[in-house]
Subunit: 349 residues, 2 copies
Amino acid sequence: MAEGGAKRADMVTITDVARHAGVAVSTVSYVLSGKRAISATTRQRVLASIRALGYHPNAGARALASRRANVIALVLPLRSGMHLPVLMQFATAVVTTARQFDHDVLLVTADEGPDGLRRIAASAMVDGIVLMDIEMHDPRVPLLRDLERPSVLIGFPAEAANLTCVDLDFYRAGAICVEHLAALGHRDIALLGAPAVVYERDTGFAHRTRAGFTETAERYGIDTVAQPCEESFDGVRQELSGLLERHPNLSGLVVHNEAAVAHVLATLPLLGRQVPHDISVVAICPDEVAERASPTLSSVLIPAEDVGRQAVTLLMRKLEGHPVPAATLLDPRLTVRASTAAVTAPSPA
Amino acid sequence: MAEGGAKRADMVTITDVARHAGVAVSTVSYVLSGKRAISATTRQRVLASIRALGYHPNAGARALASRRANVIALVLPLRSGMHLPVLMQFATAVVTTARQFDHDVLLVTADEGPDGLRRIAASAMVDGIVLMDIEMHDPRVPLLRDLERPSVLIGFPAEAANLTCVDLDFYRAGAICVEHLAALGHRDIALLGAPAVVYERDTGFAHRTRAGFTETAERYGIDTVAQPCEESFDGVRQELSGLLERHPNLSGLVVHNEAAVAHVLATLPLLGRQVPHDISVVAICPDEVAERASPTLSSVLIPAEDVGRQAVTLLMRKLEGHPVPAATLLDPRLTVRASTAAVTAPSPA
DNA sequence: ACAGGTTGTCGAAGCGCTTCGAGTCCTGCA
DNA sequence: TGCAGGACTCGAAGCGCTTCGACAACCTGT
């Protein structure tokens, strides 16, 4: 039998601090908020009392009086298809950044749906909202416009008017991969994307990567195929063998599917293609994945941390009433590693 | 209904509801909380007004007056070594379960450290705390005992007196793997564990799995080795080839390292061992991982969802002042799949 | 009929904090 | 010498909610 829930809490209040320091309650408040000038001596005395008593302001009272909860909501999908580790990176970055702005983070799962959002917003629990994994036609998006709370989206919906969105520039990411392969002399390349369901769900980043890939290749006059790819080992093997059969001269592969990337590297040698001798592979994935692969992957990294940090920073600006850009695209960065090389000989077949 | 469709910046309060329904504020409150009898007709009238006005109680005010925030803190490690997907599963389960108890979840990262915990608790932001990834000698644990808030730990510290802990029974998990292999006739088996740092950190689950493995094997009179294992492909290959060299008769492998498990399966054939013909592999990992592997893995699953749900349920009981068991161990469950088989070469009976 | 319960409702007192208006004292400048 | 104005500080009025004590009104059983 552990200690129960009902402990008569001897919580230290601002009144205790005021009495201990011999000042008015409001003075303590002003020391804490800095909203009015307080003499150095008084400030010191108050701060000393705060420390001595171990005072922490009551969040509820503060929220009630100031109409600011100092909490933001982080709405996560928690649904398959998204790669979890990246999601955690986002979440970490959001929490860390929020703390730097003296805010806490309320975790909301998308399966609460629009009603959950409405509840959170209307109850004044949070001052603002960060939404992740936005779909092209996301049911939460229209709601956001009615809500009294500022929000920032990670990802782009189809209709982004009046919203603040942050994301990696996936179009550029696709383009950069092509440019890299083109520079190495590859003329016949393929894009292996997310599972088909992700495209069907109209997920923006998948479509935009493909567009960047296809259109850039076109500009270079390079032959391309782009196709979805399941994440299982067998799925990958099947896609790949089919692909190589239909395109025997294929010498470059762009993989935009973190879960499949390891399988791709494992499968290619089995199909008689050495990486990077016979075929170059460039991935769009976190550095962590690229570095753990064998051979290490040339990759465009998804700057999860940057995105999370940006999102919170923008939200804070909005909370302070400042205008913010509607769209923030983070520049992708290519890191060349061991999985890409210049074409060795015309058609190794 | 003079509100012309558009919401005013100021929110609907309980006073608005009371006026709209023609009752006292306290009556509305009692309708909502059910703490006093209210006639059916009045209740209906109030509920209708609530719906009509779209009223949601102000969380701060409610927390202030009732001394209950209806929020729990979820403290995540967000540190390497833990497998992220499992962590997300925990988090999801915690959020979902908390919502069922009408609570929200505040996400706290461990890198805020003990001070962060103290702040959260002292500010009355949360009513209770769920801590994940507890280490044997966790600096947060002693603090927990001083805190005014009930808490539940996922994992066991070395000194668990006065605490409420939940976890998979890793000792049994290790034991079950041995029993399974023993039943198939294997007499020379090895445990491939987490990276060495995890053991050095004194992480409880790693040690307990090893103990269950070793002691059970001893009871069966089976030869064992137990060794840590890095997560990189090359690390795994190295460990494995060394292991097979030193123990040529090895016919069973227990892998307790989710990140390495795929590499193990990929490496064994390269070292001339077919699974399960030459060597049986049983893993301790989520079903998801086991099923995606090739061949599919016989595995003991980590019931992340159950653990998360249990943790929250226990916390809620504590919040209501009920006593709860100090230790809750969830029974591991072995699922036999394609990676284990009876020893082929006749062994001494 | 009346003491003694129920039931259903109300008003008011806070919960701990922020913030506004108002004071006190002390400058500096006409 | 007088006074405008800055620098500090204080008291009090809420913020929107819960909860406690009161109090009518309606039962009971005797």
